[in-house]
Subunit: 528 residues, 2 copies
């Protein structure tokens, strides 16, 4: 289970480095000529002939080619603009020659997805299961969307929509139509602070002035990345981790994610020694580590950090003088006997420097409101708060939604009943689903929160490698027609683990899913 | 009027350059020692003693200090983690010594605002005018928020809220609560396409597949900047321009804005020769220009580009092989006799390469729905569309708002009546307001769209410079208690121009505002 394997992905550092040096991805014909030429010369001589001479040659050739190129397109600045009529016709041919260039980022991310997490989601969108309309479609078990309590939310909205949006707070249309503060209206921050106190429990009560609201937890993570690290810096992140982090942290902030591998033998709990090692290796490579990004409760495993582990993490962060970003979006979706402990809860001592701790929360998971796009950054760092408030202009929640949510969160009786029912329903589906998997010989990691189980199917893969894992994933998708997330998409170091979300289906639909899983298990057994 | 003046702002290139070289903003005590030392040595010798020797000294000292520093904090990687209890107490002192570092971006933008546009908005928020509650507060004329038709929107929402959010499209709660596609639901794209056809008129009809929806036009501009240019590249932008562009384009995308100055003698119309000059000067400085960013109708002037000008702009962009970003958010807020021409309207010929043209639109201005945060990118470039769709995860519109807006846009009778009334009311307030200013001796630039006038108060400023302009702005804010936007905040090259938004007040409130303006005019006249 813990045996080593080949690196799964092209080294992200190498990719980053290439991105930072445009010349290395340079593709003019001149460059193509020079690189082999340099190789030829290097093969022959010593230091002088093998390195210095080709380098000098390379430099002058580059210079020559650069000068030659600038004589072509775009035209020299002194060239006068053509009058409209004549230019129109002359451009008709030119337009087809030189296509306009887009940014490196756009070039990179406009390509088809590499992450199988996103490939899976896309495959479902083309052929989604529907009991009546498309019973042979793909069942979505790859997205942690909670559909178990849509009935409760639906009833509340039906009863309260009118009052909460246009009348509820006595503001009328003036409270929803004109510009509001980008980082969220105070009423919602206050309601969210109360709500989080209720959900997270314990002593945690955020001051609304320490909150910045964003259009979901996704932009909250991105904004924090922009605030805590510069392009080329890195965060440590325990694996397996949520595949979306790669997009949120790497794409626009340009911050690298350095995996800290957790093992099945520890039930994928974080190990501080592994954290130390990853940190020191990064330093040796010259990478500046600016923070640790954790999801607690863990996505995809569903385990939670103990208070002791949180203290150790804080010690580590203080010692290295780095930040902690704690993504706690599943804080209220617990179903075990364990109590969730927020990192905010251990910050009460006077001698702890709170300014390095930043918490992400949102309503997509615990309140099932993924479509509402409501997220929040809770921070104790004045600079981060000031910057995040200004950056929230790019990710504001629409005012009608803010009013609706304020009203819902303020209905404390509804919230209490919703949470009781929701946790009960998650527990029911979890227990039933994991029990059925167990009967098929598939064991899951010990978990007590989240909307998914982390299933060990290493016994079903041939070969025992990422290749085997991907082949099994493909079989689930195209033969059994269920989409699950392979561990490789979560950067898990051990092959054969899969995240399966069970809150997208009802208790009644479990037999159908299990039947589809059984087919795959049997086909694997018979072929071995 | 057209005389030259000192540069208004610290050179943005210099600021950028400093940002890219962290060592230049380095502030350790070691550095503070070395810099004067280098100066002393430089003062004495020739090339060798004056430059080479100090440079070598400087290099070795830096190396020495760097090594010495790394012996302190953070500790060397081989140092074992302290056990929790002992580390807790040892950290209590250390925590207070080294504060955790935030990113350069956060450091930069968390500082108090420099732009007087934002300073003014902030000042209003601390002491906002209210006829009953705070009659001596500051009147907001600095924000282009349209409050003239809140009654119409309010009535529509009251009539249609229930049906449009939960029932309208037959999707029920499933259409608003779970995850929806990040780049906007198809129903809203289709409704928006029809709406834009109605507003922009002519032959323009966008294919919904060419649209990416975002949480307002602000993130739409930012996303386009990320897609079209790399960090350190630049866009040309005619001045005066909307102050928000500096945040949208510079902050996170790191794209520079190169001003192309328009003059009062041309009624601030764009001049292609000035564009050519700005482009060639940028190239000489080694800056890669990737596009032209225009607002049409212009914000803050309120004039519109002719069809001929749009053709010339397209010729220019084709010749230089760069992009055009056209921010058309005021397309439907016209009040003159001129017809608005969208750049989309001249793209119908086969020989035009549409892939370089990108249009920004939104509902904050023309439909008064600033609080709803609904924006759209319309592009003909497949790579840009694919990338922007993926980036919309950071800036999604909440589903309830999407349903509500879909329903509103689909009510074609309401939209037609709203536009008739809205344009009539804007025209009334514009004519009355500009007429009153004229009687005070303040002339405005010729305009036919937008929610503001561009007023020439150069006769009121002493000295005739940015300093005089800012003093006048301060007098308006603190003496007359009205917030307007000084031309310097819009990068206008001529001092004494101000943008005054008149749609934040009613026809009945004009005398009050004009009375306050009169006081300032009279105090200027008496002091001269």
């Amino acid at each position: 289970m813990t045996q080593s394997r080949k690196p799964r992905k092209p080294n992200p550092q190498a990719r980053e480095a290439q991105q930072n040096h445009p010349s290395s991805s340079f593709s003019s014909s001149g460059m193509k000529l020079i690189v082999p030429l340099q190789g030829v010369v290097q093969g022959r001589g010593g230091l002088l002939l093998g390195t210095l001479v080709p380098c000098a040659l390379f430099y002058f050739l580059q210079l020559y080619l650069k000068r030659r190129r600038s004589n072509f397109s775009p035209p020299s600045p002194s060239e006068p603009t053509l009058p409209r009529t004549s230019s129109r016709s002359s451009l008709s041919t030119r337009g087809s020659i030189s296509r306009v260039r887009v940014s490196k980022l756009a070039t990179q991310i406009s390509r088809p997805d590499e992450s199988l997490y996103y490939v899976g989601l896309e495959r479902v969108s083309r052929d989604p299961y529907d009991a009546l309309e498309n019973p042979n479609g793909i069942i979505q078990l790859g997205l942690s969307d909670n559909k178990l309590c849509l009935d409760l939310i639906g009833e509340w909205v039906a009863r309260n929509l009118e009052g909460s949006i246009s009348g509820g707070v006595g503001l009328g249309i003036n409270g929803i139509v004109p510009y509001q503060t980008f980082d969220g209206v105070m009423e919602l921050k206050m309601a969210l602070s109360d709500f989080m106190h209720q959900v997270i429990g314990g002593s945690v009560k955020f001051d609304p002035s320490n909150m910045v609201l964003t259009a979901g937890a996704t932009p909250a993570i991105e904004i924090l990345s922009f605030c805590l690290a510069d392009h080329g810096n890195a965060f440590l992140v325990p694996t397996p981790y949520y595949p979306g982090f790669d997009r949120d942290v790497r794409w626009r902030p340009g911050v690298d994610l350095i995996p800290v591998h957790c093992r099945s033998t520890d039930n994928f709990d974080l190990n501080i020694t592994a954290l130390e090692q990853a940190f020191s290796q990064a330093r040796k490579r010259g990478v500046k580590v600016r923070g640790i990004l954790i999801s607690n409760p863990s996505n995809p495993v569903g385990n939670m950090m103990t208070q002791d582990m949180l203290y150790s993490l804080l010690d580590f962060a203080e010692e290295k003088n780095i930040h902690i970003i704690a993504d706690e979006v599943f804080a209220g979706s617990t179903y075990g006997s364990e109590k969730f402990v927020s990192i905010a809860e251990i910050l009460n001592s006077d001698y702890i420097d709170k300014s390095r701790v930043h918490i992400i929360y949102g309503l997509s998971k615990d309140l099932s409101l993924a479509g509402f796009r409501v997220g929040v950054i809770c921070s104790f760092n004045e600079s981060v708060l000031a910057a995040a408030k200004k950056l929230s202009r790019f990710s504001s929640i629409s005012a009608p939604t803010q009013r609706l949510v304020t009203s819902m969160l303020s209905d404390k009786r509804f919230i209490r009943e919703y949470f009781e029912t929701n946790q009960k329903r998650i527990r029911q589906v979890h227990d039933e689903f994991v029990g059925c998997l167990s009967k098929l010989g598939i064991k899951c990691a010990k978990s007590s929160a989240g909307m998914y189980c982390w299933a060990d199917m290493s016994g079903l893969i041939r070969p025992y490698s990422e290749k085997g894992e991907i082949e099994l994933w493909e079989k689930f998708l195209s033969v059994a027609k269920i989409n699950i997330t392979p561990g490789s998409a979560c950067h898990c170091i051990e092959p054969g683990w899969f995240r399966i979300c069970f809150t997208t289906i009802t208790l009644e639909e479990i037999p159908l899913v299990i039947e589809r899983v059984r087919k795959v298990v049997e086909s694997c057994d018979s072929s071995s």
